[in-house]
Amino acid sequence: MALGRTLRGRRKKKPQRMKGKLFTKQDDLKNLPPMVEVTGIHRTYEAAEPVRVLRGVSLKVERGEMVALMGPSGSGKTTLLNVIGLLDTPDAGTVKFAGVDVTDLKRRRIPLFRQNEVGMIFQQKNLIPSLTAFENVYLPFRYAARGKRKQGREQAREALRLVGMLERENHRPDQLSGGEQQRVAVARALALSPAVVLADEPTGELDHKTSDQVMDLIQELNRQTGQTFVIVTHDHSVAERADRILTMDDGKVVPERGRAARPVRPQPPPRKRAAAKSAKKKT
């Protein structure tokens, strides 16, 4: 039920799902297309005076990369994140996931796409107050295919264990601290092993210490799972942890100057490398 299924009929190569990531048997890992590629995105909000939020944004995010998006308020960071997550539709431009154009994905296929390929973390955590930590993390499985639902309980617990919240799985959000709530939100975003995690100011409402803890966690998960992270932030200390910092201003990405916080990894993480090796051996 990966992107391949989401996009059935739109692609000639039949994609093969491997641990939540997108590969095809024919893919040469060294020449894989970027995980996220947006080209010439425009978005204008209709109002008495139309607001041009995005003015031809283009960027690429490689597989397993962690990218920070910075910029002043109103520069279009969140809108860009929403466009990448298919929560918002651009007026012009294309969004590609692993080389597949998802811009014109049919409306009924969008939830499936979001479920399988994108995990989202918000500044306000957006946990459902009537559900326990476990139930919040299990939420994506409730709407997933039956096969996934069966394993969902285990996977949700595994996600909670990863973020160190397994012991508090039966607590409701109002019984958790801000940092703990954000950890649960991170676990929810990761529960279905999405290819890309989009985080909008994940530490915006947290104090410095808790913010550090959450970012340690995100960084560790990025290393462990090889998932791609795009993080919108105003906080330089958060951005510094990313592989690359992109700055937006007035609806555009400012051309990159200087080096990234740490070099962009050209190769997928170990888990993917092992999978690729075995795939290569078969061919």
Binding site: L87, D88, N126, L131, E135, L139, Y143
Partner: protein, 390 residues
């Protein structure tokens, strides 16, 4: 189960509002069940009446109106039976005499006074319509001072087969008890016509009448005879009598029952509709309050049908809880009223399993229908908009 558990939690989240909404639905279902039970009782009684009069013409004293089945007291000369029997198309005829067991008793909405029914046992035995015995035996020709009693009298007077009691100053022995019919025979003391005439003489001893007077004459047409035409023949041959053919009786009983049912169920339905409007109102408020939650669910992959299903489960549950509470309330009330009116020989309400299942099912369906509009609104929520809201 997760779906139901979350719906229950959501209902519980706004306790006061949910309680008021459930109360609203409950009142509607309470009214529906109570009125429905009243209507069921009437329908059953009507059906017994229709079965009883199915193949007989009831001849009563011409009173210028419909009094037949409810008439009591000596009214017609019993000798008219012989004159009727010779009319072309009549198979057989027999008189019956109805007397109030308590001379001072009156009919009212909540009470049907116990009545003595004087019948010729040998003729009644030939009837197609039979009342079921629960104990003992039926009356036989030649019985004197014997009675067969209806179920309400058994309960009220605590009488059984072999017991004796006084009816209008005369001693009677109970030889049989009848099963419950839910209709007038439950309040009858069946005695032989001779015994009833004897009791009637006690009443009419100060009148000048020297004739044996009965209340009505049951006339059975021969097979293939048009009962309406036969009724007209009887009325034209014998002056001062009024005949009611079975078709007319059936129509009259059914019409009365239908009008009554329409009024009571109509008013109950209005109450239920008001309840369902409160469900719509509550759910619109809930959906508005939970816009952000719904947005989050859409973000993690919920489709419109998931949101629809969750909202409708919640309203369906409100309907179910309201329905069950409304039904229980009605069951308590009708049981109390029935236990009071049973003393007067009448069970006003008939609560059947079908009515219970129908009312609760109706409440659930209504809850689901009431949830459709709020659910549709919920599916229209755009996550990108609501997630920005503070």
């Amino acid at each position: 189960m997760t779906l139901v558990r979350e719906a229950l939690r959501n209902i519980w989240r706004r306790k006061a509002r949910s309680a008021l909404t459930i109360f609203g639905v409950g009142i509607g279902i309470f009214a529906l069940v109570t009125m429905g039970a009243l209507s069921q009782s009437l329908s059953k009684s009507t059906q017994v009446g229709i079965d009883y009069f199915k193949n007989r013409i009831l001849v009563t004293k011409d009173s210028g109106g419909f009094g037949g089945p409810f008439a009591v007291g000596p009214q017609l000369p019993a000798s008219l039976t012989d004159r009727i029997e010779v009319i072309d198309g009549v198979d057989r005829a027999y008189p019956t005499l109805s007397l109030l067991a308590d001379r001072d008793a009156e009919f009212s909405v909540t009470s049907a006074p116990a009545t003595i029914q004087g019948i010729p046992p040998e003729e009644v035995a030939k009837d197609r319509f039979k009342l079921e015995l629960s104990e003992g035996r039926n009356l036989r020709a030649g019985d004197t001072g014997k009675t067969v009693i209806g179920s309400s009298i058994v309960q009220k007077e605590k009488l059984g087969v072999g017991d004796t009691m006084i009816l209008r100053d005369a001693r009677f022995e109970v030889v049989g008890t009848l099963s419950r019919t839910g209709a007038r025979p439950d309040s009858f003391y069946f005695v032989t016509l001779e015994d009833a005439l004897g009791l009637s003489r006690n009443v009419t001893q100060f009148t000048t009448s020297t004739e044996e007077l009965v209340t009505n004459i049951n006339v059975f047409p021969k097979a293939g005879t048009d009962s309406t035409a036969l009724t007209e023949r009887i009325e034209s041959r014998i002056s001062g009598v009024d005949g009611t053919p079975p078709e007319q009786l059936k129509r009259t009983l059914e019409d009365a029952s239908a009008v009554f049912n329409l009024i009571v169920l109509g008013s109950a339905l209005i109450a239920v509709l008001v309840g369902s409007l409160s469900v719509i109102n509550t759910m619109i408020m809930s959906v508005t309050e939970r816009r952000k939650e719904i947005g989050v669910k859409r973000v993690v992959g919920a489709r419109a049908r998931h949101i629809l299903r969750e909202t409708i489960t919640e309203t369906g549950l409100i309907g179910l809880i309201g329905g069950v509470l409304g039904f229980l309330g009605s069951a308590v009330l009708t049981t109390i009223i029935n236990s009071i009116t049973r003393q007067s020989g009448l069970e006003l309400f008939l609560l059947t399993p079908r009515l219970a299942a129908g009312a609760i099912g109706f409440a659930v369906v209504l809850g689901v229908l009431a949830g459709l509009y709020p659910a549709w609104r919920a599916t229209r929520i755009k996550p990108v908009k609501v997630l920005r809201e503070e």
